[in-house]
């Protein structure tokens, strides 16, 4: 279990305006400001849960993950991971967790990934039989058989990321902190990584705390989300609740089997947010939706009809705009 109570993390940051004079001045007199990266954040994550950690850049997501992984010491507050204090980095904790960041790597740059796997096997004290079984499983799931014997520096970003995940899981951790694991990957590679994380988490009952700016990652992997903005927690709950609370209206896309005139369309469904003779998109709340959809089916040549929530990107943008307005 992960438990965070009133976590605060402040950084002292040197600030200097541009220019030679400012550079000289800063040599003698430094100006520092305190950045409140995380400001009184509390949450609990149960074993086996998959949780999305959302927020704009600089919101405090990565800082929180680093505190949980024991890399950063909190300014105040209490953090427990599997009942242990990450600050002291006990061996039992390090053997149970892994932090994967999309922007930094643990793979040895000049050697093939298989050497990093071997290194991790030794330092995490993984028995040879378990190691062989785990690597076979990872190689199959991630399709990396041909990659693991090539020098890391000669792999593409996507290939590296898959090997990075494999290296991080050699010791079969039960808690994964994933910081932007799909950053820079193409759509198909994102999908492979997502499927893999889901499968690993289900097979090993692993707890996952994931940050991502790709909302597809969040939608596919994490039923629960924590939203953080300017270091403060602004939402903790189900993804569906977040959407319902922020953008209760549904998007309805209608496709027609024959062209529909604009005035006829307006008369039947009312205001549209996008339309052409062969399709229309409406945004309606739950009460109006039933009535309008029934009328459209009865009076228009409907070929297809799709009802969906607003895109998560838009939901979050609205959410952040609203919380900024409240503040």
């Amino acid at each position: 279990m992960i438990s965070v109570r009133h976590l605060v993390k402040h950084y002292r940051v040197h600030q200097r305006p541009p220019g030679l004079l400012a550079a000289l001045r800063s040599t003698f007199r430094r100006r520092f400001t305190t950045v409140r990266a995380v400001d009184d954040v509390s949450f609990v994550i149960e074993p086996g849960e998959r949780v999305g950690f959302l927020g704009p850049n600089g919101a405090g997501k990565t800082t929180t993950l680093k505190v949980l992984a024991g890399l950063l010491h909190p300014t105040s507050g209490e953090v427990r991971v599997l009942g242990m204090d990450p600050r002291t980095r006990p061996v039992d904790l390090l053997r149970s967790i892994m932090l994967v960041t999309g922007q930094k790597q643990q793979l040895l740059w000049d050697l093939p990934p298989v050497e990093t796997f071997e290194l991790n096997r030794a330092v995490f004290d993984v028995p040879r039989a378990d190691y062989t079984r785990t690597i076979d499983e990872l190689v199959t799931l991630l399709h990396i058989e041909d990659l693991i014997k090539r020098p890391t520096r000669q792999l593409s970003l996507g290939e590296r990321m898959k090997c990075e995940l494999a290296a991080a899981l050699v010791h079969a951790p039960t808690i994964l902190f994933l910081d932007e694991p799909t950053i820079g990957l193409d759509v198909s590679m994102q999908s492979v990584v997502r499927a893999f994380i889901r499968s690993y988490s289900e097979q090993h009952r692993a707890t996952v705390l994931l940050t991502s700016h790709h909302m597809e990652d969040v939608a596919a992997l994490t039923p629960r989300v924590l939203v953080i903005d300017h270091g403060k927690m602004s939402f903790d709950g189900g993804l569906a609740d977040l959407v319902r609370r922020t953008r209760p209206d549904k998007l309805i896309t209608l496709s027609f089997s024959a062209p529909v005139a604009a005035d006829r369309l307006a008369a039947v469904v009312g205001k549209t947010i996008e339309s052409s003779p062969l399709h229309a998109v409406l945004e309606l709340d739950g009460a109006a939706m039933k009535e309008v959809v029934a009328r459209a089916i009865a009076e228009l040549p409907i070929l297809d009809l799709k009802v969906e929530d607003a895109p998560l990107e838009e939901v979050l943008a609205d959410f952040f705009a609203r919380t900024a307005g409240d503040a």
């Binding site: 950063l72 010491h73 980095r89 930094k104 040895l108 050697l111 050497e115 071997e118 995490f124 020098p151």
Partner: protein
């Protein structure tokens, strides 16, 4: 024997076996990394050959008459043994530490259940044989043929020599760990290393034998750590020390080495509290 002591013995054996596996793997991987770039490796081998330059210089100084207690042959022996000791004890971990602290890549080391100092040490030790691959055999052959008479014949000093070389590595490595760990407080401690290295150049015997210092200055130099990083093992091999001086020096050397290591561990623990893991 009861079950508890047996279990304790088994557990110690397991821990020992595990440590041996970790160290062997770290050494093997560090060795593989060191030879990943072949041409860079060859150039790198050539970078620590300063003693050969000093040998040429001082040999010409002593070509007509001895300089102090050093004739030409003594200079050959001194600088070739210096080259060997330097090859075996050279470290550069401060650069790694500073780069990793600044870029945040230290985070990846901290996530592994093995102390980063052990990894740095393995990294260093694995490449030492490679550094000396060309020059050490040549130096050994030349010393044992041209300047054999300059080597000590005292078996006790020959026993002290390997301990002194190991101690020299411990001082060099742990002093670098101290300066590297200061990077956690200052973000960069390379400038301090530059200062340390300039003192090392002068006071370790790297540029000239310490016997050339005037006596009052030599007394001050003797209490600094620098002679124990190079000059002491060289003088032990050349028999320029009495047995009593050798044992005293050995004690001072290891006190410095272990003291620096303890200081480095303390600074490291304190520094990690301030580590900001930017970018990592």
């Amino acid at each position: 024997m009861t079950e508890a002591p047996l279990e304790a013995a088994r557990s110690t054996r397991r821990a020992g076996a595990r440590a041996a596996t970790v160290i062997a793997t770290l050494l093997r991987i560090s060795f593989a990394e060191a030879i990943a770039y072949r041409s860079e490796f060859v150039v790198w081998i050539l970078t620590t050959n300063t003693p050969l330059v000093m040998l040429a210089l001082w040999s010409s100084v002593a070509s007509e008459a001895p300089f102090g207690s050093f004739g030409q042959r003594a200079f050959v022996a001194y600088f070739l043994v210096t080259l060997i000791v330097r090859m075996l004890t050279g470290t550069w971990v401060v650069w790694h530490m500073n780069a990793e602290i600044k870029s945040g890549t230290l985070s990846q080391r901290l996530l592994r259940p093995v102390h980063p100092f052990l990894v740095y040490a393995s990294d260093n030790l694995a490449s030492i044989p490679l550094r000396g691959l060309v020059s050490i055999p040549v130096a050994v052959i030349v010393v044992s043929t041209v300047a054999r008479s300059e080597l000590t014949r005292d078996p006790v000093l020959w026993c002290v020599a390997p301990l002194a070389v190991t101690g020299a590595w411990v001082i060099s490595f742990s002093s670098m760990l101290v300066i590297g760990a200061l990077g956690l407080f200052w973000e960069s401690s390379i400038a301090l290393w530059d200062l340390w290295f300039s003192l090392y150049f002068v006071f370790s015997g790297y540029l000239f034998p310490l016997a050339f210092f005037p006596r009052p200055l030599a007394r001050w130099v003797a209490v600094s750590p620098f002679p124990y990083t190079l000059s002491f093992p060289v003088e032990a091999v050349l028999g320029r020390l009495s047995r009593a001086d050798a044992f005293t020096s050995l004690g001072v050397q290891w006190t410095y080495g272990l003291g620096f290591l303890a200081l480095a561990l303390w600074l490291w623990r304190r520094g990690l509290v301030r580590y900001s893991a930017y970018g990592g």
